[in-house]
């Protein structure tokens, strides 16, 4: 089976990552991240003052929201290659990717919506902002399960020549642990677990960035060694 298609899809990831990095760096909401303790009026004032920047990044984010999906799709193909008894892990992985991406899009919508009509009632602007942060930071459940599925497929792989080195699986388990604190951003408005805190914000985004880089490398290697190996299609 030819792996050219997989390689093409994989190489769409670097430009996507570059665009995400650009969006991150120019997003006014992130530099520094808005504090959860702001009152509705302060939030509304912030959105009124940064309409162009927020709208610009919301539009960009909307356009590139799904651009990492090819990377995940190639991962799914490689999971289904592992010699386990079924493709149950592939299915769980694919569904998780769909849900996680949708959550990101909803976050993007909420920020865009808040900036679209900044003269809106401050209560509503603040609600949209809160909702955006909830959807952006908190829903780590699917990416955790997604990485666990991947790790499990590596651990349970019965091939004599494993598709991925074992440490990639260990790394995926580690990301699960590192991403978990973000879920607690719902509980706190200050401190390291608040949505702008080092554990929920910085750690989460750094972990994710490193994770994408490592997976990109691991997938390139796996696809290169795949050769003519048959893929069990889900």
């Amino acid at each position: 089976m030819n792996t050219r298609g997989q390689r093409i899809l994989l190489w769409t990831a670097p430009p996507a990552v570059a665009l995400f990095a650009l969006a991150y760096l120019v997003f006014p909401v992130f530099s520094p991240p808005l504090s959860p303790t702001l009152t509705p009026d302060q939030v509304a004032a912030f959105f009124r003052g940064n309409v162009t920047g927020i709208l610009g990044v919301a539009i960009l984010g909307n356009l590139i929201a799904c651009s990492l999906v090819p990377l995940f799709a190639v991962t799914a193909v490689q999971i289904s290659r592992a010699a386990t008894s079924s493709t149950v892990l592939t299915y769980a992985y694919v569904i998780c990717v769909g849900i996680g991406t949708t959550a990101f899009i909803l976050a993007d919508y909420c920020w865009g919506m808040a900036a679209f009509r900044p003269e809106r009632d401050p209560q509503l602007t603040s609600l949209l902002n809160d909702m955006a942060w909830f959807f952006f930071i908190a829903p780590v459940g699917t990416i955790m399960v997604q990485n666990l599925c991947f790790a499990l497929s590596v651990y349970l792989d019965e091939r004599p020549d494993p598709i991925f080195p074992r440490w990639v699986a260990h790394f995926n388990v580690a990301t699960v642990v590192l991403l978990a604190p973000s879920a607690f951003s719902i509980l706190y408005k200050t401190g390291p677990l608040a949505w702008n805190g080092p554990l929920s914000f910085t750690l989460r985004l750094t972990t994710f960035a490193v994770y994408i880089a490592v997976m990109f490398w691991a997938l390139l290697r796996a696809v290169r060694y795949q050769g003519d190996d048959r893929v069990v299609l889900a």
Binding site: S85, T102, M131, T142, M144
Partner: protein, 271 residues
Amino acid sequence: MSGSVAEVPKAPAPSAEHATSWRKNRKLDQWIAFWSVPFFFNLFGLVFVPLSWMMPPRSPSSSTPHIVDFMHSHNLLIACVILTLAYGLAPVSNACYLMQVKRMSVSPAFRYSMMIGAITGAIVGMLFPMFCFGLGAFRPGYNSGVLTMLYDFGYLAFIGSLGCFCVMWMAFGLAIILDENGILPKWLGYYTIWQYVTELMAAPVWIVKTGPFAWNGLMTFWFAMTLYVSWQIIVYVCIYRAIKNQPEAELDNASPELRPEAVELRSGTSA
């Protein structure tokens, strides 16, 4: 087709497995996925009922102070955190259904429909309503208008999210009924159709605020819930048996001497 499945040798009795280690179980991936499901549903039930009292649903016609009080309860936030951490297990439970549908003699279109239904359903029926409740409790400063909107949005999205689950259960039920490999019992297919029809019956929650058809009503909630919970339990027992009875030769990691038959079987089933 159905004949060739029946002739495939049965898996060795499970008692032989514990003599070696559980690690040697050929279906370990399926079992891990399967056993995460009861864990998830128990957690789901605990969080919704005794922890946050989101369920059974509060009345759509309760007074504004009551709603505001409820939306401010701190336990909603804790429930939200637990569910955000655990909601990724819902896809695993759906993957368990998909695995069995994949073994059936029906077109892949059935499992793809279910997959898409599962993706949309998890967002509109779980994550979004959860966050509606969480947001109210997160910032006590919201005025009562915003809080009642979140309350309505939360309950209506949770109970009134119909289409995605309908298409999912319709595909599941039809696949069971049309299947000729006998993976899951036929009556389960019909049971699934009732479950899907009662899902349709939740439509009136968008119209009335009191009585048996409101979102906490006898017909739309309690009756549908009874049918749903019993269905869910029965489905899992059936899935358990289906995984257990799957012949070794049919597994993707079957040993090479059993393999040719398995390949033939597969190409026959995924037309």
